[in-house]
């Protein structure tokens, strides 16, 4: 109880609120800027958090994660360009609404949906993470190994276009994580006699390279291919009669509440992510459509459904992270990087070892949701102007932030070259349809997987028949096998019609 009060007290200090505010402001701006998405924004923001306290750093990053999703709706509505794959659903009704002179209504429906979805997801996190962590403390290494295999299979099946390539990417991430000193004997492993690699490949260099710089390469490629093409005309946001009042709010509220639950449920399952949530929520909203509601032609509920589910996913995806140490989404994987920098290792013991910090994070998440409402409401028109910033300015500036950010981690040029190398790898993986998200999640869970696997081999005495004494592990492995089978039969393609990263 004292941790709860102290944690929420920490979250309400002016300094923490300031960092949440800065995160929300930056996240909103990044969400609006064309070509920058949530993972890239988080990756380049981690170096900025080096000099903060753990709570301020997480608060800052959470502000960015939440607000970048909400800000992404602006480009979808005003210029019909989804900043992220999940915002593609927002375009379906958002842009037609804007063309009808109701851009402000669409943006406010997106904002209120985002805030409510976010709060529902955060409440689910607060209620479910601790009991799940208590359960996780009771399970042994055999079950933990099975659980990690299950998470990786789900993520591989749903984050990319193919289960087999997704699994290969995740396992490759685990392989890269084995570089460094062997955890049992302490002898160097695949370090190529580089002293810098004895501690392993720097996590932040990989994160920034894979997510941010490689994304800039992809944006450059798109910029070159789009030159000469006709741009979608931007829409004005000052049309008269474009007001979002109590009547409009009541009209979309049932959709927002239903989409909050859908987004939260999808967010808890590792790998499903915001794209699936947005598409599923939109599909269900369409199924519940009343006569006269024309989805795809400018229906306010369509915008609310997509944006609400998108934002409910972010806090919900932190449930497996805080309870089990398993990142369920790329945002959660990046948060692990930030927590690790500050000496905090996510997992079931997090509540015992850093209870005050966790409750502080919960507090900052609620503060971030409220600040998102204020910043989004006040800065609606101002942020819309950012859509005019050309990609030829954004891409070079982000490239510079990647270079400087990787350098600041350990003040070493080695990290910068590693970051550039992984950017090239990330681009090639994108080109050949291998999921960068799955790679990164494999890299993050790699050390814990190796530890659990080694413990499992000791516990079972390397006898596969000993698994029969672990029915929970067998059940988890059976679910993983069934999920893989379902995915191979084409089920994943129906679910994930938009690849995240």
């Amino acid at each position: 109880m004292s941790d709860l009060l102290l944690g929420f007290g920490d979250a309400l200090t002016p300094v923490t609120i300031l960092f949440v505010f800065l995160g929300v402001l930056l996240g909103y701006a990044i969400g609006v800027l064309p070509g920058l998405n949530r993972p890239a924004a988080l990756a380049i923001a981690i170096p900025l958090s080096y000099y903060m306290t753990p709570l301020s750093a997480v608060a800052f990053l959470i502000g960015i994660a939440k607000a970048s999703g909400a800000g992404g709706a602006t480009t979808a509505v005003l210029i019909n360009v989804p900043g992220e794959p999940n915002a593609a659903v927002t375009c379906l009704d958002g842009y037609p609404l804007a063309r009808k002179g109701k851009a402000r209504q669409a943006l406010q429906a997106a904002l209120y949906g985002s805030v409510i979805g976010d709060i529902v997801g955060t409440l689910a996190l607060i209620l479910l993470a601790r009991p799940l962590a208590n359960f996780a403390l009771k399970i042994g290494p055999v079950e933990m190994t099975a659980l990690m295999l299950l998470a990786l299979t789900f993520i591989a099946a749903l984050a990319g276009k193919s289960l087999l390539r997704g699994l290969a990417a995740g396992i490759f991430g685990m392989l890269v994580a084995t570089i460094g000193l062997d955890i049992e004997s302490g002898t160097p492993r695949m370090t190529f006699e580089q002293v810098e690699l004895l501690d392993g490949v720097p996590l932040l260099a990989i994160t920034v390279g894979m997510l941010a710089l490689s994304e800039m390469v992809i944006q450059t490629e798109e910029l070159f291919s789009q030159r000469g093409g006709a741009a979608t005309p931007p829409v004005r946001t000052d049309a008269s009669g474009d007001r979002f009042g109590w009547g409009e709010f009541r009209h979309v509220l049932p959709t927002i509440m239903r989409s909050s639950v859908i987004g939260t449920a999808i967010g808890i399952i590792p790998g499903l992510g915001p794209s699936v949530a947005s598409f599923a929520s939109y599909g269900i909203a369409k199924r519940f459509a009343r006569p006269g509601e024309r989805y795809g032609e400018g229906e306010l509920k369509g915008v609310a459904a997509a944006e609400t589910a998108d934002n409910a996913v972010v806090p919900a995806s932190f449930i497996p992270l805080f309870a089990l140490g398993l990142p369920g989404s790329v945002s959660a994987a990046i948060l692990i990087a930030a927590l690790t920098v500050h000496g905090v290792i996510p997992g079931p013991r997090l509540f015992e070892e850093h209870g005050r910090l966790i409750y502080g994070i919960y507090g900052t998440m609620i503060v971030a949701a409220l600040l998102m409402l204020v910043v989004g409401r006040v800065g609606l028109v101002a942020f819309a102007q950012l859509t005019r910033v050309p990609a030829a300015v954004i891409i070079p500036v982000v490239t510079m932030l990647c270079v400087v950010g990787a350098y600041l981690e350990v003040h070493s040029l080695f990290a910068v070259w590693v970051m550039i190398g992984f950017a090239a790898l990330g681009y090639l993986m994108h080109r050949f349809d291998y999921s960068r998200v799955t790679f990164l999640i494999g890299f993050v869970i790699g050390p814990q997987f190796e530890l659990s696997l080694r413990q499992t081999l000791i516990v079972t005495d390397r006898d596969p028949a000993a698994l029969l004494g672990h029915p929970i592990a067998l059940a988890i492995l059976a679910v993983a096998a069934l999920g893989a089978l379902f995915s191979l039969r084409g089920g994943s393609r129906a679910l994930s019609s938009g690849d995240a990263v």
Partner: protein, 137 residues
């Protein structure tokens, strides 16, 4: 444009070859016997073998499938330019420091992306260089 069978085969051979190189050359030469417990090469070998199997299975499935796949993006111009700019930023960082890199990297990037108007290039460069100089001086 669709992906040709030859390019799918080349992709499979390239990745499979990489896995074989890992299994028979890189992992054996870059790991030693730990002396006790599991060998340090145990997990890397298992993972490399698993990737090889997955790549081969994926390749065979795609080669035998009748569904056409979209062609790869043409050329590597964007990759070359982006990495050249990032590499330039790293070299400037090594010899002239953070503020100089913050000023020159965006300028180089804007020029590489075709921006030729001096005012936006100089203004971006001065703004970022100045801001980083104030923070890191």
């Amino acid at each position: 444009m669709t992906r040709s069978r030859a390019s799918l085969l080349a992709e499979m051979l390239l990745l499979g070859g990489g896995c074989l190189a890992l299994l028979f050359w890189i992992i054996p030469t870059q790991t030693s016997e730990g002396g006790f417990g599991l060998s340090p090469a145990f997990l890397p070998n298992i993972l490399a073998a698993a990737i090889l199997l997955l790549v081969l299975a994926d390749g065979v499935l795609r080669l035998t499938a009748r569904r056409p796949e979209s062609a790869y993006p043409a050329g590597f111009g964007a990759l070359a330019r982006s990495l050249a700019v990032a590499g330039f930023g790293a070299i400037v960082l090594a010899y002239a420091g953070v503020a100089a890199s913050a000023a020159l990297t965006p300028a180089a990037g804007m020029l590489a992306l075709g921006e030729r108007r001096p005012l936006p290039v100089l203004a971006t460069s001065a703004l970022l260089g100045g801001a980083f100089w104030l923070v890191f001086r």
